[in-house]
């Protein structure tokens, strides 16, 4: 897997797990793949996955089981979604705003473009 940017890999893995929880691929209460299973899937060092799991546990997205391993924590999807939304506003959206300003877009133009996009994507889904 190519992780692209300079973000540490364990944070990429954090995002991947958060995304799987938000999308419902992993449900609350489900067992999370073992460190080794996810390391094999993502082709990374198991200790890197361990670091990601520590961070995910601190973030309240996963919790340790009584035996060995982790499960998706209660309320994880809502928490992960909230976190992703905040990160989107802080990082991607602020970058987008800067670029919009530089190119001279007005809020009205953007609103119109976004409305068109919503209409089209709704039609496509019908």
């Amino acid at each position: 897997m190519d992780f692209g940017t300079n973000k540490p890999i364990y944070l990429h893995i954090y995002d991947i797990v958060a995304e799987r929880i938000i999308s419902g691929l992993w449900h609350e209460g489900d067992r999370v793949p073992s460190v080794r299973e996810l390391a094999a899937e993502l082709q990374v060092n198991p200790n890197t996955v361990m670091r990601a799991y520590d961070a995910l546990q601190q973030g309240g997205l996963i919790a340790p089981t009584r035996g060995i391993g982790y499960f998706v924590a209660e309320g994880a999807a809502a928490r992960a979604l909230e976190e992703s939304r905040r990160e989107f506003v802080e990082n991607e959206l602020s970058q987008l705003f800067r670029r919009m300003d530089a190119l001279g877009f007005t809020p009205e133009e953007i609103t119109k473009l976004y409305s068109n996009y919503k209409t089209n994507s709704t039609n496509e889904n019908k």
Partner: protein, 279 residues
């Protein structure tokens, strides 16, 4: 686990590859052993497993001289050289004949690795392509589940999907009790697998740090200017740079850039990473 102490070594009629070289490797983890062509990486692997004798100094494995090559020692280490000869038998026969030497041999791991590498047990080594033979031997080496696994350029000759399979298998192979040392020039192909990086040059040890320590002490980023960087490479969108990490930022160590920095800014890299031993 491995202690190289004041090692001096040269091949007959050649210049010294190592002079008073020391290195300690702990049990557990995947080590990347990097260095320019001809610097002596393969030689070091051979010295570690006792295939070569040091001129002076010691190489100890599990607290014993590796050169003794005792049965106990040999049953717990495995070296996959870059190029190797295998007997004129099928893989199945090879497994039957040689697994008794490896008490921890994991037959189900082998079966799974062969399935994913698409290599058959009834194939003769000599009728296999170079890549197939390499996959068969790597699968066997991992399945041996030795405490120490030495891999010399393991991804050379492997096709694209096999390289991915190799990384995946290595992640499954790794435990806190097992150590792998991978010597390679194909850093990008295995960079995400490393716990620890060792870089050697003609003067000795330059880098001997965990990936975590490297990311704490060095900062890797793409910037519009490379001014004051320890090392940089021109890239899409600016310069990929290595600098001392002074603002506590977290970046992903780019091992290729680290290698460049270790070559061009050797003393600064040693100062910043402060390896336990240097020469």
């Amino acid at each position: 686990m491995i202690t190289v102490k004041n090692l001096t070594f040269h091949y007959r009629g050649k210049n010294h590859l190592y002079r008073d070289f020391s290195l300690h490797i702990e049990r557990g983890g995947i080590y990347g052993l990097l260095g320019s062509n001809g610097i002596g990486k393969s030689t070091l692997l051979k010295l570690m497993c006792g295939l070569l004798s040091p001129d002076a100094g010691e190489v100890n494995l599990f607290g014993r001289r590796s050169r003794t090559r005792s049965v106990e020692l040999l049953s717990d280490i495995f070296l996959v050289p870059e190029e190797f000869e295998l007997p004129k038998v099928t893989l199945g026969e090879f497994v039957r004949l040689t697994t008794p030497f490896y008490p921890s041999f994991d037959h189900s791991f082998l079966a799974e690795a062969l399935r994913r590498f698409e290599v058959g047990m009834d194939e003769e080594f000599h009728s296999m392509s170079m890549g197939q033979r390499k996959k068969a031997y790597i699968a066997f080496a991992m399945a041996a589940k030795t405490s120490l696994l030495l891999l010399d350029e393991p991804t050379n000759g492997l096709d694209i999907t096999s390289k991915a399979t190799f990384r995946s298998l290595l992640a499954e192979w790794a435990t806190p009790e097992r150590t792998a040392i991978i010597s390679t020039h194909q850093v990008r192909e295995v960079a995400n697998m490393f716990d620890h990086i060792v870089i050697i040059d003609h003067k000795g040890l330059v880098v001997d740090s965990s990936v975590y320590e490297i990311s704490e002490r060095l900062k890797f980023s793409v910037e519009s200017s490379a001014d004051g960087a320890l090392y940089s490479q021109s890239t899409l969108g600016g310069y990929a740079t290595v600098r001392e990490n002074v603002d506590g930022s977290e970046s992903n160590p780019d091992i290729e850039l680290l290698f460049g920095a270790a070559t061009t800014a050797r003393e600064e890299i040693i100062r910043i990473l402060n390896p336990s031993t240097n020469h």
